[in-house]
C-alpha cells in the first residue's frame, strides 16, 4: 500500500514536466483563446458574450469561401504530394541499398535545412517574370516574351507540395522499409502483376504511413501562411491569412480567435472524415 502510494507520487513527479507543458503551453492558451472568441465587440471598449464572431464566419460568404478554398487546395496538395512521394519513397525504401539510400534520403531532407522563407524566395526567384525559368524559355526560343509563373493557384500548389514532400516521404519510407521483400515476391509469385501487388500488398501495408503522412501534410498545408501568401500574390486567399489579418492588421482579436477555433474544428472534421473514408483509425496510424 505504502509502496503503491509512493510509486504513484513518483509517476506523478515524472509526468509533471509533461503535464505542466501540456497545461501551460497548449491548454491554457486555448482556453484563453476560447474566451476571447466568444466576446463580441459592440462598441469601442464595450464587449459582451455571444457567438457573433462564429456567426460572422457563416454569414459572410467571403470567410466561408476562403476556408473552403483553403481546404480544397490543401486536399489537392496532399493528394499530389502522395502521388509524387510514393514512388520516391518506394524507390528509396525498396530499390536502393546502403549509401545511395542514405544519400537520396538526405537529398530529400536537404531543403529543410534552410528556413521556409528562404525556400519560398527560391521559388520566387525561379518563377517570377524576370526569373530563371522565364528567361531560360525565352533564351531557348520557346516563348517570345517573359512569362509570369508566380501568383497563380498552380504556383501555390507547387510551393506547398515542395514544402510538404519530406513529411510524406519520411513516414512512407519507414512503413515501406518494414515491408519484407518476400511479401512483394509472394504477391508476384502467386500470379499478381505490378498493379495488383501494389494495390493488394504494398498499399495496404503502407496504409498507416500513407494516412499519417496525409494528415501531417494536410494540416501543414492548411496551417501554412508564408507559401500561399508569397507565391499566391493578389489572389492567394488563404484562411490563415485571414486569421493573421484579423489579429495583426485589424486588431480584431475576437474575430481572429473565433477563426482559429473554426480552423481547428473544421480541419479536425476533415481529418476525421478522411480516416472514416480510408477505414483507418487514428490509434492504428499513430501507434
Amino acid at each position: 500500500m505504502k509502496l503503491g502510494n509512493s510509486s504513484k507520487l513518483g509517476l506523478l513527479l515524472l509526468m509533471a514536466p509533461l503535464l505542466i507543458w501540456l497545461f501551460a503551453l497548449i491548454l491554457l492558451p486555448h482556453v484563453d483563446m476560447f474566451f476571447l472568441s466568444i466576446r463580441e465587440k459592440v462598441a469601442p471598449r464595450v464587449y459582451q458574450t455571444s457567438m457573433a464572431n462564429y456567426m460572422e464566419f457563416f454569414n459572410e460568404p467571403l470567410y466561408w469561401n476562403t476556408f473552403a478554398r483553403t481546404a480544397v487546395m490543401s486536399i489537392l496538395t496532399t493528394a499530389i504530394t502522395l502521388l509524387i512521394a510514393f514512388p520516391i519513397s518506394y524507390y528509396i525504401a525498396k530499390m536502393l541499398k546502403g549509401r545511395m539510400k542514405a544519400f537520396l534520403f538526405v537529398l530529400c531532407l536537404l531543403p529543410f535545412w534552410v528556413s521556409e522563407l528562404v525556400r519560398t524566395f527560391g521559388w520566387m526567384i525561379l518563377l517570377r517574370e524576370t526569373g530563371i525559368v522565364s528567361s531560360t524559355l525565352q533564351w531557348m526560343g520557346v516563348v517570345d516574351g517573359p512569362i509570369e509563373f508566380l501568383y497563380t493557384d498552380a504556383t501555390i500548389l507547387v510551393g506547398l507540395v515542395y514544402s510538404s514532400m519530406l513529411f510524406m516521404v519520411v513516414p512512407l519510407v519507414s512503413t515501406l522499409e518494414s515491408l519484407d521483400d518476400s511479401y512483394i515476391e509472394a504477391g508476384y509469385d502467386l500470379g499478381g502483376n505490378g498493379f495488383t501487388v501494389l494495390r493488394e500488398v504494398v498499399i495496404p501495408h503502407a496504409m498507416p504511413g500513407i494516412v499519417s503522412g496525409c494528415i501531417v501534410v494536410f494540416m501543414l498545408s492548411l496551417g501554412n501562411y508564408l507559401t500561399p501568401v508569397l507565391l499566391g500574390g493578389k489572389d492567394s486567399l488563404w484562411f490563415t491569412e485571414q486569421i493573421y489579418a484579423q489579429f495583426i492588421t485589424r486588431f480584431n482579436w475576437e474575430q481572429g480567435a473565433a477563426f482559429g477555433f473554426l480552423l481547428l474544428i473544421l480541419s479536425s472534421l476533415i481529418v476525421w472524415a478522411g480516416l472514416k473514408l480510408s477505414r483507418q483509425t487514428l490509434s492504428e496510424t499513430m501507434g
Binding site: 469601442p44 467571403l62 493578389k234
Partner: protein, 360 residues
C-alpha cells in the same frame, strides 16, 4: 568532502550568474519600437557615448506596433513610433500609451507648427500622447519612360499599365483612391454611414482594378525589387522608396498624385508600461538635435520635425524633394487626421473583400 566541494562550486556558479544578471540589468537600455532607418547605427553609437544607454531596436510598422503593445498591455518597449493618426484611436480602445510629460521635452528643437499639429491629433481626454519625429508622404512611384501617363491613384487602373501595377492592401490605398475618385474620406471620418458609402465605392473600384495588379506588396524591399526588375512600372508607395530608386534609375521617381500626396507624421509615444521613461526622453531630445536629425534623414530618406536640420541635410535629397514636390504639391498634401476608433473595422472588411474578389 566531495559533496562540500560540489556545494561550493554550485554556490559560486549561482552567485556568478546572479551577478551577471544584475550586471546586465545595470547597464541601462532603451527598448525602441520603430521603423527601419529611424535609428541608424551611428546615431545609436553617439547616443551611447553621451549617455551610456544602450539602444535595442525592434523594426515594425503601424499595425504591428499596435498589435505588439496590445498583446502585452503596453509593456516590453520603452518608446514607440506610431504615426500620429494611429495614436488616439488605439489609445482610446486599448489604452496602450502613457501621456507625455511635455516639460521633459525640449520644445525648441521642434518645428512649432508640426509640434502643435501632432499634439492636437494625439490628445485623448486632454492628455498629449505623441510628439512628432519624422514626416513624409505616400504617393506614386512611376517609371516615367514606361508609364508616363500615370498622374493619379486611379490611373493605376488604366489599360496602359495593365499587369504592371502594385499597391498595398492597407488603409492608405483606400484613402488615396477615395481622394482620387473625387471624394473626401477625411471629412467623413466622424460620419460612419458616409464613410461606409465612400469605402463601398472604393471597394468597387479596387475590385475592378484587381486585374491590373501584379501583386499587392507588403514589404518595401519586395516592391523595390519588382520595380527594379521592370516587372512593375507604377506603384503606390512612400516617397523615400521612389527617391532611392531614382538614384539607381533616373526614369523612376516619386510623383505626388494630382489629388494630393498623403502626408504622415511618425511620432514618439510612450508605451503604457515603459520601464525606462527617462531614457526615452533623453533619446527624443538627443535625436531632435539638428545634426543628429540630419543623420537620421540620410538614413531614413525622410525629413524630420527638427528645427534647423534642413541646413545639414544632403543636397541630393533636397533636390529630389523639390523635384517631386513643386510648391503647389506641398500645399496639396493631405495630412492624415486621427483615425476615430471603429473606422478600421469598416476598412478591414473592405480590404478582405477586395482580397477575396477574383480578378478577371
Amino acid at each position: 568532502m566531495l559533496k562540500q566541494k560540489l556545494k561550493m562550486v554550485t554556490g559560486l556558479l549561482v552567485g556568478a550568474s546572479v551577478l551577471g544578471l544584475s550586471g546586465a540589468a545595470n547597464a541601462e537600455t532603451l527598448r525602441l519600437l520603430t521603423w527601419g532607418g529611424y535609428a541608424p547605427e551611428n546615431v545609436i553609437e553617439l547616443f551611447q557615448k553621451e549617455t551610456g544607454i544602450e539602444v535595442e531596436v525592434t523594426k515594425s510598422n503601424n499595425e504591428d506596433m499596435i498589435s505588439k503593445l496590445r498583446a502585452t498591455g503596453g509593456s516590453g518597449f520603452d518608446l514607440a513610433q506610431p504615426s500620429q493618426d494611429r495614436i488616439a484611436g488605439a489609445q482610446f480602445e486599448h489604452e496602450i500609451y502613457k501621456p507625455i510629460d511635455l516639460s521633459k521635452i525640449n520644445a525648441d528643437l521642434f518645428i512649432a507648427s508640426m509640434m502643435d499639429g501632432t499634439k492636437k491629433n494625439t490628445t485623448v481626454d486632454g492628455k498629449v500622447y505623441g510628439v512628432p519625429h519624422i514626416w513624409g508622404t505616400s504617393g506614386l512611384i512611376v517609371n516615367r519612360k514606361e508609364a508616363g501617363s500615370i498622374a493619379d491613384y486611379t490611373d493605376l487602373c488604366s489599360e496602359a499599365v495593365a499587369g504592371k501595377v502594385s499597391y498595398r492592401l492597407k488603409r492608405p490605398t483606400l484613402i488615396g483612391f477615395a481622394f482620387s475618385m473625387g471624394m473626401d474620406p477625411f471629412a467623413a471620418y466622424d460620419d460612419t454611414a458616409k464613410y461606409s458609402e465612400i469605402m463601398g465605392k472604393v471597394e468597387e473600384k479596387l475590385i475592378d482594378c484587381k486585374s491590373n495588379v501584379k501583386s499587392y506588396w507588403s514589404g518595401g524591399d519586395a516592391l523595390m525589387n519588382l520595380i527594379r526588375s521592370g516587372e512593375v512600372t507604377a506603384a503606390m508607395a512612400w516617397d523615400t522608396g521612389g527617391w532611392k530608386l531614382n538614384q539607381e534609375n533616373a526614369d523612376v521617381t516619386f510623383v505626388a498624385p494630382k489629388s494630393g500626396a498623403l502626408g504622415w507624421i511618425d511620432t514618439f509615444a510612450l508605451p503604457a508600461k515603459t520601464k525606462n521613461e527617462e531614457a526615452a526622453y533623453k533619446w527624443i531630445n538627443f535625436v531632435m538635435q539638428p545634426k543628429i536629425a540630419a543623420m537620421i534623414t540620410a538614413s531614413a530618406g525622410n525629413f524630420t520635425a527638427s528645427k534647423g536640420a534642413d541646413e545639414f541635410a544632403e543636397p541630393a535629397l533636397k533636390k529630389q524633394f523639390q523635384d517631386s514636390f513643386p510648391p503647389e504639391a506641398i500645399d496639396n498634401i493631405k495630412w492624415y487626421p486621427p483615425v476615430p476608433a471603429g473606422l478600421e473595422d469598416i476598412e478591414g472588411k473592405v480590404l478582405d473583400r477586395v482580397k477575396a474578389a477574383q480578378s478577371n
